[in-house]
């Protein structure tokens, strides 16, 4: 389904989505973030945090527990409530992020918590007519600034109107909800969207040079001294991975609310391979106790382990980890340096 929507009508469409909680990028506190929005503008650069939290929140309660003396322990599962989220303005790199998250939590192992959120999330994407920043490199990792992967709807800005394509059945339903607002695209609209997409793809970007050769070359570089050198100024914070649209590692803890009677929640929280306790063994041994070994893990996961498991790089080229790194650690540069070193 392909339609035209006048830019002035976008909020009428949002209003028509009465079954959905609509979120869109909002600029607040100096950053773009996805927030519940009734006034959708879509004049954003990419958001600081990706939309992964809609299906994989930073904190998820699995179940609550209670142990009253003399009684059997009581466990109550807490599956997330079924709020339907329509997320507007998702950039193609983040749509590709969703594709990868879906593989992790729904391919070999089906994660009920992820799935019960995910099936209620619809992504209304917005193609990037030009790169959102200097660190975009989606094209070199198999993406495209006009990719519809992971989207339910893809919109393209044509100046005073959007070219709107339904990608999934959910996308069709979203568009159907606002049907009188949409019009049929003319031949000129079709021509313009084609040209806009071609121009977008032709925009220069940074590039990871050897993505297909990276798995073997990274494997060969496991013991390379380059890792410590490249991580020399790393401060070991977790900004790179917490802001990544595809990082999905988590920790599970019991958070006690009271000890007598014992009552609390078992919770899953995002974890971070850059933190010192991520690989800490109970014996006190830490197999990744240096910054270089942690950088290697982050980069190899994106460009070696994930491709080995799923056939595609995990990185989608959004550039957040580069832009937000306070000391200039640059995954494009790191992969290029390591793969060139192997030759």
């Amino acid at each position: 389904m392909e339609k035209i929507l006048g830019k002035t009508k976008i909020n009428e469409w949002v209003a028509a989505l009465s079954d959905w909680q609509v979120s869109a990028p909002v600029q607040e506190d100096g950053i773009w973030s996805y927030k519940a929005a009734s006034n959708v503008q879509l004049d954003h650069t990419n958001t600081t945090q990706p939309p992964k939290g809609f299906s994989f929140p930073q904190r998820e309660v699995f179940f609550s527990f209670e142990q009253i003396k003399g009684e059997p322990p009581r466990l109550t599962q807490k599956l997330p409530q079924a709020t339907r989220h329509a997320v507007f303005g998702v950039r193609p790199c983040d749509g590709n992020g969703a594709v990868r998250m879906d593989k992790v939590f729904g391919d070999q192992f089906v994660d009920n918590y992820y799935q019960s959120r995910r099936k209620n999330v619809a992504y209304v994407g917005l193609a990037c007519n030009k790169p959102q920043g200097i660190n975009c490199f989606c094209k070199s990792v198999g993406g495209s600034p006009v990719s519809s992967a992971g989207m339910d709807v893809l919109m393209t800005d044509l100046g005073d109107r959007y070219f709107v394509s339904a990608i999934t059945e959910t996308g069709k339903a979203l568009m159907a909800a606002g049907k009188s607002l949409f019009s049929e695209p003319s031949a000129a609209d079709q021509k313009q969207v084609k040209q806009t997409h071609a121009d977008a793809v032709a925009q220069p970007q940074r590039a990871v040079k050897d993505v297909s050769g990276a798995p073997a070359k990274l494997k060969a570089s496991f013991d390379s001294p380059l890792w410590e050198e490249l991580a020399r100024s790393c401060i070991g914070c977790g900004a790179c991975t917490f802001l990544c649209p595809t990082c999905h590692c988590f920790d599970i803890n019991d958070e006690n609310i009271s000890s007598s009677p014992l009552r609390g929640n078992r919770v899953r929280t995002w974890d971070n391979c850059q933190f010192p306790d991520f690989t800490m063994h109970t014996s006190g041994h830490n197999p990744r106790d240096t910054l270089g070994s942690r950088l290697r893990q982050r980069v190899s996961h994106k460009f070696q382990y994930f491709p080995e498991n799923f056939g595609i790089p995990q990185c989608t080229g959004c550039g957040r980890c580069v832009t937000e790194c306070s000391v200039g650690i640059d995954i494009v540069n790191v992969v290029n340096k390591v793969t060139e070193h192997v030759g």
């Binding site: 506190d29 100096g30 950053i31 973030s33 600081t48 945090q49 930073q58 904190r59 200097i134 660190n135 940074r206 020399r232 100024s233 401060i235 070991g236 914070c237 977790g238 900004a239 917490f242 802001l243 920790d251 803890n253 019991d254 958070e255 919770v267 929280t269 974890d271 971070n272 933190f275 010192p276 306790d277 800490m280 109970t282 014996s283 006190g284 830490n286 580069v322 937000e324 306070s326 000391v327 200039g328 640059d330 494009v332 540069n333």
Partner: protein
Amino acid sequence: MINLQDIRDTARDLLAKNEVRAVIGYRRGSSGMLAEPVTITKPEQADELVWDPTCFHNLSRNLVEDRKALTRARQNPDLPIAIIAKGCDARSTAVLLQEHYFERKDVYIIGVSCEGTGVVDERKLAAKGIQATDSAFDGDDFVFTTAQGEQRIPAREVMADRCLECREPFPKEHNTALGENKTGRELEAPFTALKRFEEQDAATRWKFWEHQFDRCIRCYACRSVCPMCYCEECVVDSIRFPVSGQTSAEEKGNRIRWIERSAVHSENITYHMTRVLHLAGRCIDCNECERVCPVNIPLRLLNNKMEREAREQFGYEPGASIGGPSLTASFLDKDPGSFIR
């Protein structure tokens, strides 16, 4: 005016004459206009060094990392390590020396004066719509290279707040120093931003902080970038819990976790309050924590508050004296609090 060649020559000479084992400075990053920290060990690498308004990083933090690496490797080299230090970086180095994190002979401070300016605030620059590919100092101005050509801007308009309020742009503690000493040149009175914030009533301020802390994603960039946050085990980590074959499941389950992993209201507040209290009398206002926060939490307001308390209550200035007593490890007969006298 600082001549970059002087910085490079100084670093090259120190390495060539084997007076230091390495120099921590700045080089151009691989993306965009920003400088990044670099550690060089050979004289010929001195030409990599840069000096421009994006040299924000407080490199005394890298001294801490270096010391940790040496401790892990059980090494104690004779030669010192050198750092390029702005006024603020020299002050935090002085605090580290005062706390005996390392000794004076272990570090060679190449002081570089910020003279009449300081570093750029990327957010102020972005707000002006300037997308630069390069930046340079020029007297009281910054010069940015953009797609439209060179753009000259009075530094005051895009400088970091902490630089505007800086009282000590010249690195007092140094082995060698470059540039003019313009101590006392503050372009804005100290604590200007804090005063402006405190014009609001307490309820408004608390609401503001609740909003800010709720936004925290607990990436710990603020802690990780801080030269004063050198604890081997931070209060939020759990890496030192001793486990043996005899440790029971209960003991493991009940190990003390001061702050839970969850990035929720109570835990976020506890994290930030703990950090700010641990920095009282130690934070020298390099404001790296605020710069690196990906979600823009204005941490400087918190740290400034503690800094002003220390100054007004006890006349104490962190980083002013290496040999003097530290704020929280000393006692004053004229302590303003009657409960302690």
